[in-house]
């Protein structure tokens, strides 16, 4: 009985893909947004409003990998803060901005590497506890370095990263970088042997190990990537804000995880893909845009994002458990 049920579910999955639901929701929310604001349906309106959101997009891409292997990283927001602060400080110490940007990338990758090292080196130390401690340590270091100050006054070309357009076109620069990253991650996950192993790890870690998948090495790479993407996010976020302080990106971990889960990535691992996650990113931006139009304060947006995250994970579970009960009753 269970057998037949899972078969029909699978058939349903082919016709009714999660991605299509996201597309429908995107269209629906766009229509509502269009009604609320006459400026919504303009090319620059949509492009620019997406562009200012993309620093989270970079983080979502690598978080998708972390979640697919069945782990979690709640230290990303703190890594963004530390990368940003170190970048700003190196610039202030006289390093050229280009080098300072490299410092941000190195910081991000370094923090991620450290997470990965601890997780794969000490068996029994879960990603939850390592990244929980990490989130405190990385932001804590940012505070130690900068206290409650802020650093600004970056060269003018630096603000181009977040606000500029490519050449004479009206395509935001950050959009190009993001699309490039998304394509790389999409290919990596869906078109390489490495990506296949990522899914295998998430679906059945024991079987993956028994099949010769180098679990520790792959975790190490994935957590390092996640740190690196937080570093990239720090570069664009700091460019957007124009200054750096230790408390930037607070709460990003929730939103990044929420977007990935909304995009069809299962927090218990093995499921999801880059296309869905990118659609969820757009959806989340439109939702925020719409809420902004009706003057919903930021704190309330976090409440809604939290509800979305819990709801997306919970609803299928509730329905499947009800189905399960009904089935056993039929038998009796």
């Amino acid at each position: 009985m269970k057998y037949r049920n899972s078969l029909s579910n699978r058939k349903l999955n082919i016709v009714f893909k999660w991605e299509w639901l996201l597309v429908i929701l995107i269209i629906g929310i766009s229509i509502v947004n269009g009604r609320l604001s006459p400026h919504f349906w303009s090319y620059t309106g949509i492009m620019d409003s997406l562009a200012v959101f993309l620093e989270k997009g970079f983080m979502v891409l690598s978080m998708t990998l972390v979640l697919i292997i069945g782990d979690i990283d709640i230290s990303v927001a703190s890594i963004v803060a530390l990368s940003s602060v170190l970048m700003a400080m190196s610039y202030k110490l006289g390093l050229p901005m280009a080098v300072a940007i490299l410092v941000a990338l190195a910081t991000g990758a370094g923090c991620g590497y450290l997470n990965g090292l601890l997780i794969s080196l000490v068996p029994g130390l879960s990603a939850i506890i390592v990244t929980l401690a990490g989130s405190s340590i990385y932001r804590g270091i940012a505070y130690i370095l900068l206290g409650d100050q802020a650093i600004g006054g970056f060269p003018s070309w630096y603000s181009y990263l977040a606000w500029g357009y490519v050449g004479k076109t009206n395509i935001p620069f950050v959009m190009v970088v993001f699309v490039g990253c998304a394509i790389i991650y999409g290919l990596l996950l869906h078109r390489t042997a490495w990506g296949r192993k990522v899914y295998a790890m998430g679906i059945n870690p024991v079987a993956a190990r028994f099949s010769g998948v180098p679990i520790a090495q792959m975790k190490q790479i994935i957590f390092t990537l996640n740190g690196l993407m937080a570093g990239i996010a720090a570069i664009f976020l700091t460019s957007k804000l124009g200054s750096s302080r230790p408390n930037i990106a607070t709460g990003y971990e929730l939103e990044v995880i929420a977007i990935a889960v909304l995009g069809g990535v299962s927090p218990s691992g093995g499921k999801g893909g880059i296309v869905g996650v990118c659609l969820a990113l757009i959806l989340m931006r439109l939702l925020r845009y719409g809420m902004g139009l009706v003057n919903v304060p930021g704190q309330v947006m976090m409440v809604i994002i939290g509800i979305v995250l819990v709801g997306v994970v919970m609803l299928p579970n509730i329905f499947s458990s009800r189905g399960g009960k009904r089935r056993t009753k039929e038998i009796q």
């Binding site: 405190s136 939290g306 819990v310």
Partner: protein, 337 residues
């Protein structure tokens, strides 16, 4: 079949190992107290010690709740937001109705916190959402609701009646009333965890969920219960916190969950479930309280606190794992033919 002397020897080493952990924390506490005392003699005064106890009061209460969740193999990140929300509600209520008795407020904190925790518990137990995702979401949701109900405004000291602030300031037999609340909580939970059937079931669920189900334990109920309890204790701590600092803010206790986890892990609670004692958690809380109190005394900037707490969590968690592995190894040795 088994030879008697070997048996008793085994048992002695075992109890020694168990006691070792708590003894270790006590030695650690004494050691850092002396070290800090050398740098700043004021640290080793009775009044400072009393201050530490008052400052640690809310943390000690919260740690018990977190311990129960960790014992089942979960984690509750939403405790700090339940604390803030309950504290804000309490603050607003005493502002409007100064005549409300402090005892009533404490009970209200327990109930409101329990309600909030129950919702989280339902999401984890019935909705089968992984604890980390569920409680991370609830952390932001309850924080947001705190903001919504307060309209972004604070409740200040002058808006609170003295009777309410008295929860923290009034003394009985030379000790702050807060300390008595902690004592009551610890006595109740020591009894609950060690001498009630439900209390032991929590450990059973954390030790082996499948086996727990087989002997007829309602594992969903137990999972729900620990989140409800951690919520209730967060609510109680919320009222204690607002009374102690005489202000209720939107970012009350923001980031405090790290401190709670640090206290638990230091106290020997295993993050993989099944292991944790009430006495260990009390010692863990006091240790964290001492460190936090000492930092300004030895002129360490408060900005160090955050990173230090993360480091404590990491090191303590690794030490716990090492101890567990050592024990396992010695058991394997014993098993060898």
């Amino acid at each position: 079949m088994m030879d008697e002397p070997a048996k008793t020897k085994r048992e002695v080493t075992f109890s020694r190992l168990l006691g070792f952990r708590e003894l270790g924390i006590i030695i650690f506490i004494v050691l850092i107290s002396v070290l800090i005392g050398i740098r700043n003699p004021r640290f080793l005064t009775w009044s400072n010690f009393h201050d530490i106890l008052i400052d640690t009061a809310a943390l000690s209460v919260l740690s018990v709740g977190m311990m129960l969740v960790l014992v089942t193999g979960g984690i509750d990140l939403s405790m700090e937001s339940v604390l803030a929300l309950t504290g804000m509600v309490a603050g607003m209520m005493v502002k409007q109705n100064p005549q409300l008795s402090p005892l009533f407020m404490l009970i209200l904190g327990l109930l409101l916190g329990g309600l909030l925790g129950s919702i989280t518990g339902l999401i984890v137990a019935k909705g089968r959402v992984v604890p980390i995702i569920a409680t991370l979401s609830m952390m932001y949701i309850y924080r947001g609701i705190t903001f919504i109900i307060s309209g972004g405004k604070w409740i200040n000291a002058y808006e609170m009646p003295d009777s309410f602030k008295g929860i923290a300031t009034e003394r009985f037999l030379g000790l702050s009333k807060l300390i008595y609340i902690v004592l009551v909580v610890y006595v109740v939970f020591y009894y609950f965890v060690n001498y009630t059937h439900t209390g032991r079931k929590i450990y059973a669920v954390g030790s082996n969920v499948e086996a727990a189900r087989v002997i007829g334990i309602n594992t969903e109920f137990i999972t729900w219960l620990v989140y409800a309890i951690s919520g209730a204790l967060s609510g109680l701590a919320g009222v204690m916190w607002v009374a102690r600092y005489a202000s209720a803010q939107n970012d009350t206790a923001s980031g405090f969950v790290m401190t709670i986890v640090a206290a638990c892990v230091l106290g020997g609670v295993s993050i993989t479930g099944g292991v944790g004692t009430v006495s260990g958690v009390l010692l863990g809380s006091i240790t964290v309280g001492i460190i936090n109190n000492a930092l300004p005394m030895i002129r360490v900037s408060p900005f160090w606190k955050m990173a230090l707490q993360g480091l404590i969590i990491l090191v303590a968690a690794i030490v716990n794992i090492a101890i567990a592995r050592n024990m396992e190894k010695s058991q394997l040795k014993r098993r060898t033919i």
